[in-house]
Symmetry: C2
């Protein structure tokens, strides 16, 4: 088992990574110290893992709530159901919310834990690769509003994260690949050596080999933690984590949310960021080819939908990460080093968009 | 105008106190620095003061939302309406929520500000005495759940508080008196000199004389701030602020919430706390008489409903401030110095309850 400490002063917490962890009562007891626990899961993950987690929680006073599956249920109303379950279970301030599932479950459950009695303990048991490498670090919780994604939420750090790599066996392969896009992102923005390791170990990751998965998850969390530690409230360096996201938003929005998985759109978005970086002379042709090849080998799409340059630009302009009318983008200079920049010729951006989205719709 | 600084490091903020402040654009501009503002008010306070506050906000991009009046509307659903208004108004992270009204409006609006985009600025413009002396300090925001009061919420400090004492002219006299109960509380738990001042200046306060009101509000906020600063997350000394609350909860719960105003129930509760303190030899007979007389002169009830000792004890046991089965109470030792204690003979508590609630129902 890997053990990674996230250093946040008195809010520090461990991320425990390895196969079979949810079946190990000692590991679960280390993570969940509260005597009373509400397990929050959904209708897909619950039937697979809820009983097993409950078995490892034996001896505690435990209640559970099963939410509907899917991003469309990440709402204030569904968060209210978790609060109802906390009240119904007579959970007090010493209780803990444990999120068993992917990012949606974690976001809702964490937000409920942040709000219940103005904040109770929260433990993540992520069962998707995306949640294991992304939601485990950063303390973001929340729900969507019809007017925008993640508009409602709180910063609330978990007490512990238990990433059981064996749960990835039941993850749909497409979601595994989308999670790999985020893993690749960490290599691209912060660690060329890790990127090279990913190129070598990609077959092992796709085959769900425990040692490879554990290293990939651990290193991704480490990188995210380093970046977040420097910038807890997201004004500077934390923006690096959005590599590929502004382009990706355009893809997701054009296709209708849900058509593309977030990680898939981000994957193509990273390719565009690399291409724009190349046009600026910050990356070489070979670097761009490496990015494209790694994404393709991971089974991720490398072609943007043909919506045309103008519409792509419009959709990017709606992004909340626009600062004062200027589109700041995460670019690469060089490979393995992300930079946040609004300092590029508009023509280079348009040429990049035209090359990938097409000249016109 | 009084100006009281609440020292919270980088979250420090001013409380501005005086008559006519909401009509003074310079004061309002000092408090509300954001370019975009959502004013949250209710259907009682809005018709009286919304236009005047909006006039002082001229030049900014302002939207407003008017909530229904009353504690029964302090719900997650109504909080969602404030979030809807923020989204509809296209408020970004630099926007500010301004709460114009009493404690309910402040609690809902502050919680919405805490959740919107994971936290935006919040300014309080309290128009009730209770809100001016209580909600202005401590950072508590939140809503009720059918299962309990204030079960859902967040700690979110305001950027500024504007306490316009002239708005108290439209406060129902019964609510003014209930607010005075909280003011008296601060004297009892922390400042004998202030208690003496209150005894002298009570007629001026009841006549809404601006200088007397400003001093009472300022000193109350100062005392609360000193106590909260020592204990931001409510485990130790902050419990002093609950003087009279455990007894008061029994009164409110027995009568049905809403029959007694919170401050009225707390007033009688403080009398019981003083009586128990006397039985323990911590206060003298004369001290108890002073407490009773001051409450009576403030127009507050000094007689508990005749629900009987046993039922009162039951209702106190349901209180969330019970620690491990033991009822910890805020007592006085001596007058002007609150202590949190579970260290009293059960007989003394029962005798106190019997003396005020009656032997049996």
């Amino acid at each position: 088992m890997h053990r990674l400490g996230i250093d946040l002063g008195e809010r520090s917490y461990p991320i425990l990574i390895g196969p079979g962890l949810i079946d190990d009562p000692a590991v679960v007891a280390e993570a969940v110290r509260a005597p009373d626990v509400l397990v929050v899961t959904n209708e897909v993950v619950g039937p697979l893992y809820l009983d097993r987690l409950l078995a490892s929680l034996r001896g505690k006073r435990v209640a559970s709530v099963v939410l509907p599956d899917g991003e469309q249920h990440k709402t204030l109303e569904v968060m209210g159901r978790v609060l109802d379950a906390l009240v119904l279970g007579r959970m007090n301030r010493d209780a803990c919310v444990a999120a068993l599932g992917g990012g949606v479950v974690g976001d809702i459950a964490g937000f409920a834990a942040a709000c219940y009695q103005r904040g109770i303990d929260f433990v993540q048991v992520p069962t998707s690769l995306l949640a294991q490498v992304d939601s485990s670090v950063g303390g973001k919780t929340g729900v969507n509003h019809p007017g925008g994604k993640n508009l409602i939420g709180a910063f609330h750090q978990p007490r512990a994260v238990v990433s059981d790599t064996a749960t990835l066996a039941t993850l749909p392969p497409r979601e595994l690949r989308a999670g790999l896009a985020e893993v690749i992102k960490y290599g691209l923005i912060a660690d060329l050596e890790f990127l090279t390791w990913l190129e070598d170990e990609l077959p092992a990751l796709l085959a769900l080999e425990p040692a490879a998965l554990a290293h990939a998850i651990r290193r991704s969390c480490e990188i995210k933690a380093e970046i977040v530690a420097e910038d807890e409230r997201e004004h500077g360096r934390r923006a690096l984590l959005n590599l590929g996201h502004t382009f990706g938003h355009a893809i997701e929005a054009a296709a209708g949310y849900g058509e593309w998985l977030h990680g898939e759109a981000v994957g193509v978005g990273m390719l565009l960021a690399a291409d724009l970086s190349r046009r600026l002379g910050w990356l070489g042709e070979a670097d761009l080819a490496r990015v494209r090849e790694l994404l393709a080998r991971a089974g991720l799409p490398v072609t943007a939908p043909p919506i045309g340059e103008r519409r792509a630009l419009d959709l990017m302009g709606m992004d909340k990460k626009v600062l004062a009318g200027r589109i700041r983008l995460v670019l690469l200079a060089p490979l393995g080093a992300g930079v946040v920049s609004g300092d590029y010729p508009a023509d280079a951006l348009r040429a990049t968009l035209a090359a990938h989205f097409g000249e016109a719709a």
